[in-house]
């Protein structure tokens, strides 16, 4: 029975992975899958509507799932359809997360009014929107680092409301009656209206109502053009030209100039009428025909949209995160019982999660056409990936489950960090001008991130030494020596990569700014990591530290790295300050405190440790 354990665990994991990769199933008669893969331009990138729905939901409420008031689960694509076409329904979905009690008080709400005590509907917020605007104006006047938590919460909610409103105003202007029906009739009303307007200007008898109707519509379209968030309308010719994608208002305005309704706009109008009129057959036909045209004109972009929508639904990093947890537990138990079987099972699980994460990172790179690290989010993914890869090598060499335990912890925590970083919106961002260089992203950024990962890994291996040695009897001399060799080797690796990465950064700076070193906070952070690793090596070579000292220094490396990775971004100064964040500050402090506690624990005299007792 024991013999088959590793294999059956592996099989279970594989089944779970495959199940997560299957195409998402949508209940109901509407072709929601097809709709969710339709392309739109947002934030400079053509992406599927599915991504828009999911990232907006992440920003608004920290998760992708929506629960309707009647308890039914609504898919992101369906939620987006309601937002776009049936605001009265979407406004009743609890999709705004508000936790700050003072903000709730501002809106005359209590936690009890919300779904799960924290999610509120737009209808609930609507009454307080003016007061919210007033408060956030007051908060805007305060410099970002000096804002109170209340002010931050107010601004965040205001931004979320603005985002929601502008998404809602993408296709239909707010407060317009029968707008879609009017748009659908444009092919008749435009010629009649134009004729009437021309006659009116010439002073001839004309249909005054038709002229006025057209002018009113034109005003509405111009207004809509200033509001719309999505740009789903490709140019009629040369759809591959990204600069030409417009929002609905712009497309409608040019429709009047051209004398007929833009074909893509006709599709989105038809979709809206079918959705509002509960006509799934018509809805599906619109999706299918529009899609066929796009496949003909921009096959490459559509392939990316399909893959991205599937990638969104599969959530490979979420699955990998769960597998890392199980692997960690199995590996820890392997120190207590069945070391071979449980150890092997843990190793295989780490491998499965690693392959999944690799695939996820690969898809992101392909979608973006970029090296793996482009922003803070992807750096978290990549730090975890590198650390787990090194763990797999260590585990293959030593087979003592230490590699698997560390892989589980590091893999899980980096993906957790990445999850929290993804709450800011779409993680496939366009690169700002200075960073728009694949060569330097692929060399400097990747090498420095490998250096971060290795320094963290050395620190986590050292934590295992301290925790196992101090609290359990399981750390024998051989394992301790093996751990010391691992930490030493990884520190060497970290020194190499963080040094080369820092130097490449200097060369990039010299190439683009004409100076090798500018004492910018992020540069200093990277330099401190190099110096710290160098210090560990010199202290060891000089015999100033032995095994335990090495471990404590390596744990301190965690503090140094987390400072350089996140801490300097919180300063909000310097050329690198593209990733400003504040809520994470307390987490950083907590992490630093925990590491200091571990170092103190590691400094307790060996006589008090449960391991290393002389054999009685």
């Amino acid at each position: 029975m024991k013999r088959f354990l590793p294999l059956s665990i592996l099989l279970l994991a594989l089944v779970a992975v495959v199940a997560s990769l299957l195409p998402p199933r949508y209940a109901g008669e509407y072709d929601l899958a097809g709709f969710s893969q339709l392309p739109t331009l947002v934030n400079g990138r053509i992406k599927p509507l599915d991504t828009v729905a999911r990232t907006t939901l992440m920003v608004l409420q920290g998760r992708q799932r929506v629960t309707a008031p009647n308890g039914r689960t609504v898919s992101p694509a369906e939620w987006l359809l309601e937002v776009l076409y049936r605001p009265e329904v979407a406004n009743a979905y609890p999709t705004f997360e508000i936790v700050h009690p003072d903000v709730l008080a501002l809106l005359n709400l209590t936690p009890g009014d919300g779904a799960g005590e924290k999610r509120f509907t737009y209808l609930q917020i609507q009454k307080g929107v003016e007061e919210l605007a007033r408060q956030s104006k007051l908060a805007d006047a305060v410099e970002t680092p000096l804002r109170t938590p209340f002010q931050r919460a107010v601004i965040q909610l205001r931004d979320n409301v603005v985002l929601y409103q502008s998404l809602q105003d993408s296709l239909v202007p707010p407060g317009a009656d029968n707008f879609l029906a009017q748009v659908a009739r444009l092919n008749e009303t435009i010629p009649a209206g134009l004729a009437a307007v021309t006659a009116q200007r010439a002073g001839q008898p004309h249909d005054a109502a038709a002229a006025k109707a057209l002018l009113d519509l034109s005003d509405t379209f111009t207004g809509l053009e200033t509001l719309g968030y999505l740009r789903p309308i490709p140019p009629e010719t040369n759809r591959a030209d990204v600069m030409g994608w417009r929002n609905a208002g712009a497309a409608l305005r040019t429709s009047i100039e051209h004398g007929r309704l833009d074909p893509a706009m006709a599709v989105y109008t038809g979709l809206g009428l079918a959705w509002r009129g509960y006509r799934p057959a018509a809805f599906n036909t619109f999706v299918k025909e529009y899609r066929a045209g796009l496949d003909r004109d921009i096959p490459g972009l559509m392939r990316k949209c399909d893959v991205e929508a599937r990638f969104n639904a599969a959530q490979p990093f979420y699955t990998a995160m769960l597998i890392y947890v199980v692997a960690f537990l199995l590996a820890v138990f392997s120190w207590l019982k069945w070391p071979d079987e449980l150890g092997r099972a843990a190793f295989w699980l780490v491998l499965v999660a690693f392959v999944l994460a690799t695939a996820g990172i690969g898809v992101r790179m392909w979608l973006e056409g970029r090296p793996p690290v482009t922003n803070l989010y992807s750096s978290a993914l990549f730090v975890g990936w590198v650390a787990v890869a090194l763990c797999l090598v260590l585990e293959k060499l030593y087979r003592n489950a230490i590699g698997s335990v560390t892989a589980g912890v590091v893999g899980f925590s980096t993906l957790l960090i990445a999850h929290h970083l993804s709450l800011g919106g779409d993680t496939l961002e366009m690169m700002r001008a200075v960073l728009d260089s694949n060569f330097w992203l692929a060399t400097h950024v990747v090498t420095v991130t490998v250096g971060y990962a290795a320094t963290f890994l050395a620190g986590f291996l050292a934590i295992i030494y301290v925790v196992r040695g101090l609290f359990t009897k399981s750390l024998d001399q051989a394992t301790a020596d093996a751990l010391a060799r691992m930490v030493y080797g990884i520190v060497c690796f970290a020194t190499l990569f963080s040094f080369i990465g820092t130097v490449l950064g200097g060369i990039w700076a010299d190439q683009s700014w004409g100076r090798f070193w500018g004492w910018d906070p992020k540069e200093n952070g990277a330099l401190i990591i190099v110096l710290w690793n160098a210090l560990i090596l010199h202290a060891r070579w000089g015999g100033m530290v032995k095994q335990r000292g090495l471990m404590n220094l390596a744990i301190f490396g965690n503090i140094v790295t987390s400072w350089s990775w996140f801490g300097v971004n919180m300063l909000g100064v310097g050329l690198h300050s593209y990733g400003f964040m504040d809520a994470a500050f307390w987490w950083l402090l907590a992490f630093v405190a925990s590491q200091v506690a571990l170092i103190l624990a590691g400094s307790i005299p060996l006589a008090k440790w449960r391991s290393f007792k002389p054999a009685a």
Binding site: L41, V42, N43, G44, R45, R231, V242, M243, W245, N247, L397, M430, R432, A433, V434, D436, S437, W440, R485, G489, C492, F493, T495, L496, F499, I500, V503, G506, I507, W508, D510, Q511, S512, W513, G514, R515, F516, W517, G518, W519, D520, P521, N524, G525, L527, I528, L531, W532, A534, L535, H538, A539, W541, G542, M544, V568, L571, G572, V573, G574
Partner: protein, 386 residues
């Protein structure tokens, strides 16, 4: 050898000193990084790195609290050199370590030279404008120009230091003494109200001065702001005072006066660095990603001309692609004036090549050393694994 010298030698070559110095440099860099929030990047470099001692103001007293960048870097250099001369014994196993440290020595020397030699300026060009000089971002100069001869100007420029110290300057080309009466390192100007009795008396008697009032402003260290000084300057000729002028980069208007039949201009401006060629901005472009305000690229199309006509060509300066010409590097730093003005950062760093060489040597050294470790580790494991 006396014991004390031996002790000193043992200290200088010891790894303990290395570790202690590494700790000090980490602390120094950390403190400097944190202080950037208050001081900005330039002041921090002066206070922490390009100095022997870091001072802290306690009340009115400056206390030396920490060794500065020069001290720590210098000691690291001494430690490195001493250890290597003392223990140098060539073995192939050590070649990686030697290379890494030799590169490090070169890198520290290079940074020292950069600290001493590097200059930075800014060049602002409006569309179509031509300039053959760039301006300092922080330092000003008082400029007195003799414009009598229409064919050429004769210029005397007085740097910021004597101005800030309120010194009196005499120069053989000036038929007067320059007496700096007041100097505001950062200032604002206001138009003086017409005959308002509440207005303080005007120290200036000549030029635009009587109509304008300069006020001292606190120094700013923010990266996007700069200090704009003002000064009241009295010119004293052989027959007594010629009057007092208010000068400031804030003033656009040229202030002219005549002394003994010669025409003069007086101005306080950001210090100029002239170069023997001219740059003309043909076009500045600011590309954005489709449908957003996210910048995709900034670029300046520039015509580069030398007076001898040897060079007359168009160059494109954009992100990650600076122009290197005659010892200066021009890179795209910003834009102003609704995309009509480009701002180029101009850097002169004669030692720019040293870090490249140093880094190649160090990287090679580390790779060799790591390779030796790795092969040794694998060789040691192999018999055990069988």
């Amino acid at each position: 050898m006396p014991t004390i010298l031996r002790d000193l030698r043992d200290l200088l070559v010891s790894l303990k000193l290395t570790v202690v110095l590494l700790v000090f440099s980490i602390l120094l860099i950390l403190a400097a990084t944190l202080d950037q929030v208050n001081l900005g990047i330039w002041a921090v470099q002066e206070k922490y790195f390009y100095t022997f001692v870091v001072y802290m103001k306690v009340g009115n007293v400056s206390l030396a609290i920490f060794p500065g960048g020069f001290t720590i870097g210098g000691l690291l250099l001494v430690n490195l050199l001493a250890a290597h001369f003392y223990r140098f014994k060539f073995t192939w196993r050590k070649v990686g370590i030697w290379l890494a440290h030799a590169g490090l020595i070169l890198l520290i020397i290079g940074q020292l030279l950069t600290g001493l030699w590097q200059d930075e300026y800014q060049l602002r060009l409006d569309q179509g404008q031509t300039k053959n000089f760039s301006e300092s971002y922080r330092n000003v100069e008082l400029v007195l120009t003799d414009t009598t001869n229409p064919k050429f100007d004769e210029v005397v420029a007085i740097p910021e230091k004597p101005l800030a110290r309120l010194e009196t300057v005499q120069h053989p080309k000036l038929p007067f003494r320059v007496v700096v009466k007041t100097y505001f390192p950062n200032s604002s100007l206001q138009l003086r109200g017409p005959m308002q009795p509440a207005d303080p008396a005007a120290p200036a008697t000549q030029g635009i001065g009587p109509r304008v009032l300069a006020t001292l402003q606190p120094l700013t260290y923010k990266q996007e702001e700069r200090n704009i000084p003002s000064a009241y300057v009295e010119l004293v000729g052989p027959d007594g005072t010629l009057g007092t002028w208010l000068v400031s980069p804030w003033l656009d208007e040229t202030q002219r006066f005549s002394v003994a039949g010669r025409d003069w201009k007086i101005a306080l401006r950001f210090a100029r660095h002239y170069q023997p060629y001219a740059l003309t901005l043909l076009k500045f472009s600011h590309d954005r990603y489709a449908g957003t305000e996210i910048p995709k690229n900034f670029s300046s199309r520039i015509r580069l001309t030398t007076p001898d006509g040897r060079d007359d060509r168009e160059v494109l300066i954009y992100m990650n692609n600076p122009l290197r010409y005659a010892g200066l590097t021009f890179y795209q730093a910003g834009f102003e004036n609704n995309d009509q003005t480009t701002v180029l950062q101009v850097v002169r760093n004669p030692s720019w090549l040293i870090p490249y060489v140093a880094c190649i040597i160090m990287t090679l050294g580390l790779l060799i050393q790591f390779g030796i470790h790795l092969t040794g580790f694998i060789a040691k494991r192999r018999p055990a694994a069988v």
